[in-house]
Symmetry: C2
Subunit: 686 residues, 2 copies
């Protein structure tokens, strides 16, 4: 570019040298991509993006997503140069315990990191979510501004590698981005033709540019990662195209300019070695004897980003204040969203139900809840991976999110709509939900059958790792799904989701517990939560209307006690659709001389978080006769029932039949709970 100086060139070369040195110093890491992407990353952070190093959470900032998270130095060095708080000392701590520069960028662990990346494909899909969130946010706060004229308009920039391009989640997300016409999204594909197994030709022969054209993206090819002029022009073109996401295929040479290792797999994931690092330094006119050499004038030059950020921020603030003055209600909403505070009285709209033997499916109760609170909570939006009617996730008085051209006979769409349609793309849904949650104050939910949580599991794990307050609506949560058979019936999923640290797995027993569960997950803004809901009707249980409001929030509670306190005691622990079996069994046991307590435990994680006194008040340590009942594997219940306990569960795959037959044939019945309780009482006496 015309304003490119020698100092810019020196800065870019400094990046390359720092990357080589940092990996050499650590002994492991990924130098090659950080070297070859140096001009690109520098161009973005120093010349393209609107950002303020002094405030990494400025809502109107452009987002930078390093989808190829293994090249974390690409980001860390920019954060250092631009003045986000990292210094050379931090680069020396790369990949070390308790450093600000872990192996992969970790959300909010390091200031300026927008999302945790490393598992390939996730970053690009997160970015699609962020670009969607930016549009939704604009729609909520400034819908009338002309295109490009809103203070909320900004761009999302992504650096992606061949691994990102190969992962299926990216394909799903990219197809969605095309459908959504996300003009605010710019993906730069670092096409260096090298992966860990060396030349990508061994596994990759597709025409990726054409593939992105097929998704409806604006596609450009830039031949050479050193060609800053062409790259800058391509980015300008991308910004000018406001009705399509942009894909810039950038042909780079990994490890450039390492004389022996560039353009080979050896530059990807290991230190270059002393000699090669020295050769890089010589080639770039750096002192081979020095390490982490940053000329003062280079740093002074790049740290001007701080002043530019301050100026941009001030200009924006003036416009923001003008907007705020003219739009007091929207300003109030913006303030609320920025803290994720829920509005006063919002929960008054939550429905409740009287005890009722016929009852209703908890998925249906969930749909009623969503529609009851939808008006009070405009930040709540979401949809399904093509199962909206089954998941009961449509907010009925709202339009769908999408360009008007995506409207169908069933759904009217507008760019600021609220109901999301992911298609049969569960994994991208999960990653997009993460991107939405990370972007700002809106609260996204996404739905599919519980079994297909397996398809989105990597994204769920990352939500938990990032403490992103995403809500999953997972319906058809057991063999109660019925006729669709073993491929669609979750057996191990409840346990395997509980296994993810930091994920709330919530399985309400009835309609009342469902309403309270929604309240509780909305109030937890520091963790993702999954609501596991029934396909089939379940009774509204006696006592739940009164006890669920406190009980569900505590994870587990005493729903009812049956029998004579002088009798033998047993505690029956159930979740979801099996709580009714515990109740039925308890009544029978009471008649047969065993006092039975029914504990409904919709969320093990919340129960674990209670103090010991409360926990002991629910499951008394003195009562060793215990039964857990859940239509899934027993794995997560052993620690609750103990040595004398029994578990009524299913340790094999399901089958295709009506659900009543399956419950009977697989022995998930009140009779089985009664028998197990008697065995457990006997165990305590053995």
């Amino acid at each position: 570019p015309d304003d490119w100086t020698d100092l810019d060139t020196r800065a870019v070369d400094t990046i390359r040298v720092l990357a080589a040195d940092a990996v050499e110093n650590c002994g492991s890491g990924h130098p090659g991509t950080a070297m070859s992407l140096a001009p690109t990353a520098y161009t973005l952070f120093q010349r393209v993006m609107r950002h303020d190093p002094a405030d990494a959470e400025w809502p109107a900032r452009d987002r930078f997503i390093l989808s190829c998270g293994h090249s974390s130095l690409t980001l860390y060095i920019q954060l250092f140069l631009a003045g986000y708080g990292l210094e050379v000392e931090d680069l020396k701590q790369l990949r070390k315990w308790d450093s600000k520069t872990p192996g992969h960028p970790e959300y909010r662990h390091t200031t300026g990191v927008e999302t945790t990346t490393g598992p390939l494909g996730q970053g690009l899909a997160n970015a699609v979510g962020m670009a969607m969130a930016a549009r939704r946010e604009r729609g909520l706060l400034d819908p009338d501004a002309a295109p490009g004229e809103s203070i909320f308009d900004h761009h999302v920039y992504v650096l992606a590698s061949d691994g990102d391009i190969e992962e299926g989640v990216t394909s799903e997300a990219s197809s969605i981005a095309g459908r959504q016409e996300l003009g605010n999204l710019v993906v730069i594909y670092d096409d260096n033709k090298i992966s860990i197994e060396d030349d990508t030709n061994i596994a990759l022969s597709e025409d990726t540019a054409k593939r992105y054209e097929s998704y409806g993206w604006h596609v450009q090819v830039v031949d050479g990662g050193e060609d800053v002029v062409a790259l800058t022009e391509a980015i300008e073109n991308a910004k000018a195209e406001t009705t399509k996401p942009s894909f810039i295929l950038l042909r780079t040479v990994i490890g450039y300019p390492a004389p022996n290792k560039m353009n080979t797999g050896a530059a990807h994931g290991a230190k270059l070695g002393t000699d090669e690092v020295a050769a890089v330094k010589k080639a770039l006119d750096f002192d081979p004897e020095q390490t982490f050499q940053v000329d003062d004038e280079v740093l002074a030059h790049t740290r001007q980003a701080v002043d530019r950020g301050k100026t941009a921020r001030a200009e924006w603030q003036a416009k923001f204040d003008e907007w705020a003055a003219a739009n007091p209600e929207r300003k109030a909403l913006a303030d609320r969203l920025s803290t994720r505070a829920l509005p006063a009285g919002w929960a008054d709209a939550l429905p409740s139900w009287d005890a009722d033997e016929k009852g209703m499916a908890t998925r249906k109760a969930s749909g009623a809840v969503l529609n009851a609170i939808g008006d009070a909570l405009p930040e709540l939006w979401g949809g399904s991976a093509d199962l909206a009617e089954s998941n009961n996730t449509i907010i009925k008085n709202a339009e769908s999110f999408g360009p008007e051209s995506s409207s169908t006979g069933m759904f009217k769409a507008n760019p600021y709509g609220r109901n999301l349609h992911f298609g049969v793309r569960e994994h991208a849904m999960g990653s997009i939900l993460n991107g939405i949650a990370l972007h700002g104050g809106t609260r996204p939910y996404g739905a599919t059958f519980l079994i297909f949580s397996d398809y989105m599991r990597p994204a769920v794990r990352l939500a938990a790792l990032m403490k992103a307050p995403v809500i999953y609506v997972w319906t058809h949560d057991s063999i109660g799904l019925g006729e669709d058979g073993p491929t669609h019936q979750p057996i191990e999923q409840l346990s395997t989701l509980r296994a993810i640290p930091g994920l709330n797995v919530v399985r309400p027993a009835d309609a009342n517990e469902t309403a309270v569960a929604w309240k509780a997950v909305l109030e937890d803004i520091h963790a993702p939560s999954g609501l596991c809901l029934t396909r089939q009707n379940v009774p509204v249980l006696e006592g739940s209307k009164e006890k669920a409001p406190e009980g569900v929030a505590r994870g587990g509670y005493v729903l009812a006690d049956f029998g004579d306190t002088n009798d033998d005691h047993v505690v029956l622990i159930g979740t979801g659709s099996e709580v009714q079996l515990a109740v039925e069994a308890a009544k029978t046991l009471a008649q047969q001389g065993i006092a039975a307590r029914v504990v409904s435990m919709p969320c093990v994680e919340w129960f674990d978080a209670q103090d010991q006194e409360y926990k002991d008040s629910v499951i008394p340590p003195s009562v060793k006769a215990r039964v857990a009942v859940e239509a899934g594997i027993a794995q997560s219940w052993y620690r609750f029932v103990g040595d004398a306990g029994e578990i009524v569960g299913i340790e094999h795959f399901g089958a295709s039949a009506d659900f009543q037959t399956l419950y009977r044939e697989f022995g998930i019945t009140a009779e089985a709970v009664v028998d197990a309780a008697k065995r457990s009482v006997a165990n305590t006496k053995a």
Copy 2:
């Protein structure tokens, strides 16, 4: 086509009526696609495919994969018409308990079903594996035959829906299929523009034909599912194109010819209703009063498939016998592969190691095993999702599987090669492995880091459901992975994989256990197995050389006893890299007056399968002081340690640092095991 008669038309219409009736009779199901795909499915089964209804396992049969498994009637009705053993009575049992016609097609549950489908995308990806397996099989048994001239040549036909097309696993697999130039693969995409959320336009705007062109496929568009002439011609073209997989985009009208519901979501996943079914029958000149009407002459016509099959089979058998006579060694191999029997003496080549404190990483031992047994087991082939060097999965004296044009500086490829390169596509890898295993006698393995088992989980679950003998090589199996940090460190994966019914999760403690583990998983031809291996070095343990051969196969065994039998006793149970900590702790405990037994438990599933006597001999019921140690969540260990037990594990995400620091900071140490043992002994006395 010229030879198409009114009887063919009547047969096609019979399919439509049967589909509508079967769903109506069941009360739920998917009528629409089975109706609109009637001409296509009929054309394939009656006019295109080489198959023998009398022998659904004829190795040279063309494969038919219904990737849109929800349209199971599409397959069941063809199996009925062609004479595979299903009758009208079976169609009346659709989706009922213990029927041959479950909601989704289940592998080998119903004769003629090649793979279990339903979770979308899996079938198409399985088919890619089958097409690869067909080429590999030809390479092993008949490499010198001219193209199209081998008795082993056959085609794989797939019916796929928009859901299949949207799922990322399909994108991954389709890109691989393009790279592999699978000329024996024909995918027909049922582009009916309707999904569960009605018009697909709400979520799908990509140019799918162009997308498949970008993958390097041969692409054709057929405008109209009723146009059998055009479809037949397209299939002929597809077969003529032998160096590219073929994609036929077939524009259909879902539910055709249901007058009110066709071309709507209402025809997708619910019964049409009495009136609409009657209208269909009227439109097709069937008696609206009758159900399941199949004219005798129609059935006689379609059952000619049996005779055609017999003839084709006989012609083939003659050529096969000729080939067998000329190729006795290959014939012997073919026989062996067909039963999955391992050759006599194959295990003699397995390496073993003397006890050695320095030891080696179990992933490295695994690589040594693979290369030691590779020559003896030509059926064993596989590769990695772009981590070959890290996973140690290359068979060094073999070439890579791929067209010669896929060769690189590092890997020489040929179409019959052995080392697979999946790119960064774990999910497709899993599904392709399933396809390979289902196709025939070869044994596939696939590798990635253990953490990324999450990316392939739906495929792993299906392998377990189908009892497909796939082998996963999952390395970097704990925080021992080190610097790459929490995104790459498995914490919950060991427990969540154990949660899948029917999957062997094998975590060997050292090099000797690794060799025996390979032997055991190769010998188990009725289940998938995952080998969980260390990145870091672990000692070759004292006693493992002698005890592992029997012990590993039994899942858990006594590695060593330490201390005085008169002292208090404790059992220390460890897996993988933590067994060494148990050994070290046991020595310390013995010195401090607690007799400690070290149980190595590489495979919980195999241990569970032992008789109670053996299990009690390893973990004596009388010894209640027990500690489990594993660098992951405790979930799967509670049932082994019991109320008095303690578990040394990790209930939170990992971090980026060298592994020694992580083990120390997270408290996975011999000292922690010692302390836990003392607590457990104290618990038994409390």
